[in-house]
Point group: C2
Chain length 330, copies 2
């Protein structure tokens, strides 16, 4: 079978085409015939060696996968050959990723693919949806009627956060940089769109919340955006961040008694958290998709397995218009 391996960290040129023996599933593992896998910014950082998650070489990157169960190991009762599944299988040191025609995965990291989504859409969902789900549902515990601000509401995680907050009955405001992204955010269910480059925080907080601030702020951008999120939060609000490797004055958290939760979707792999939670969350996410409440936006460029370097280049350029997917079996 064909695979795209890396044997060192570096630029997009580190991918190497290889022909490997089809792997055999061990206990509690399934073998997946990969249909598609998507590129997340964390995959580019792992490839570049920019985060302390470097894989053991030779390595298969990219945790997001959608495909067909092809064989199951001992002890697997939740899936059988022929099942369409999606999941976050790894792509870092402890667990190999999805850049091959057939991959092995811990069965706890998978859920049944939602019928409403095709394989490309299902492969685009795991990392971004797990991140938004954990942040909004488990950490911030959003409830119907709350005002939710999504910073970067048209981005990879942000556009999913808009839909999950909307599905939870919240009133959603999305910040975006330009008109096209504003249209996307509105189409995905944002009640209000803020062009953050054109309007100060105090202005839209006054305009949209009567000056009180938002009950929940989901920040998918980080850096200066996180300071804006603290400023836009109501007293006692929940702020969720997915990028927080930066230095901030915490006075606004103090004055307003805020809670700041940082979500890192690969945490279960890195810190020994519950892998079963991954599959459980994905099953809930699939329900939302099948209810017509959640659909990832896919960049129109298409990439085959051997074109993964180009897919990484597009993600790193910042110019992708939606999730970037590598098509393997579709």
């Amino acid at each position: 079978m064909k695979a795209m391996l890396i044997n060192r960290c570096g630029g997009v040129d580190v991918f190497e085409e290889a022909t490997l023996t089809r792997p055999h599933p061990g206990p509690n593992e399934v073998r997946i015939r990969v249909m598609a896998t998507s590129v997340n910014p964390i995959d580019c950082k792992i490839r570049a060696g920019a985060v302390p998650l470097s894989p053991a070489f030779p390595a298969l990157l990219q945790g997001d996968v959608a495909g067909i169960v092809d064989a199951v190991g001992d002890g697997v009762t939740s899936f059988a050959a022929g099942d369409a599944v999606f999941g976050l299988i790894g792509g870092l040191r402890s667990h190999q990723g999805a850049l091959a025609e057939y991959v092995l995965a811990d069965a706890r990291l998978l859920a049944r693919k939602p019928d409403a989504l095709d394989m490309v859409e299902a492969a685009a969902l795991p990392v971004v949806a797990l991140t938004a789900w954990e942040g909004l549902i488990e950490r911030a515990r959003v409830s119907p009627g709350q005002g939710v601000l999504v910073q970067g509401g048209a981005g990879g995680v942000g556009h999913i956060a808009v839909q999950i907050a909307r599905a939870a009955g919240c009133r959603v405001t999305a910040t975006v940089s330009g008109k096209e992204k504003g249209r996307l955010a509105r189409r995905l269910g944002a009640d209000e769109v803020v062009y953050y480059r054109d309007e100060p925080v105090a202005s839209y907080v006054a305009r949209l919340t009567g000056g009180r601030g938002f009950d929940v702020v989901f920040d998918s951008v980080g850096g200066a955006s996180l300071d804006a999120s603290f400023a836009a939060a109501a007293p006692g609000a929940q702020v969720v961040a997915i990028a927080a490797r930066s230095t901030h004055d915490l006075s606004p958290l103090h004055g307003k008694g805020l809670t700041l939760s940082v979500v890192f979707s690969l945490s279960p792999f890195v810190h020994g958290g519950s892998l079963a939670r991954v599959g459980e969350r994905l099953a809930r996410i699939a329900q939302l998709a099948d209810a017509g409440l959640l659909r990832p936006h896919i960049d129109p460029h298409t990439f085959s397995l051997t074109q993964v370097a180009d897919a990484h280049r597009l993600v790193e350029s910042g110019g992708a218009e939606g999730k970037v997917v590598v098509r393997v079996g579709v």
Copy 2:
């Protein structure tokens, strides 16, 4: 009746003795014959004008009170004349404090004084216990068996946090600066005591948690201690801070997916939060005290109402050995 007013913000010399008419309770208010009121650091900051909570002059400072209900206004059904109560009644712009022989209070801000505590002890409890309660029980949602680190475990809020965490079934480690405070923390129920000046974070995290970190960190100190708290937290941990007007690198929050909650006990007064929550929490706190699980440590110095300046001076000196209480009717 006698009162100690301030007519401007400033040093401890701003207190002025005054003779006022005994006030009449309005709707939903009770009049309390004050037995004692305690000094919290926030009271000194309000007096000094160091925080944006300056009262309307002439002002009665100090929110903590214990006393006897003396009269009730229309609509008050929860208390009657003769009831022994304690509460957090204000001491900032919107609600006057307790530095008088008789004071008015919104009935929602009070609870029945625990039988197990005398008036001095009850007056020492509201601000510190409400802060520790909200942080540990409501924000961090501590559960039995969790490892809780209390930074500043012999301080005003910290020594109450040790007892509340212990009562919740947690294994409690307290950091302290010296041997005497270490003995106090142990007497209050700390399972382990860390002398933070003598032992690096990595050392006690390895020694007491096998390197994994604490499930919950309650930081009553702030500043550099907060960075130590981030370092001492386990992946996915809850960090509670009560002093966070400072600038911090949030990378540890990112890497470990932490949640940081900042608790500010006066928030309901400042931001229009639920005043009823204050009384409800105090009722729970009183249950703990009556169960023998919670008792404030009181500084041995005694101060009368007219000696409030000396009481503030002691708190500001940093040399208090427990909560500093002003005795009014006892």
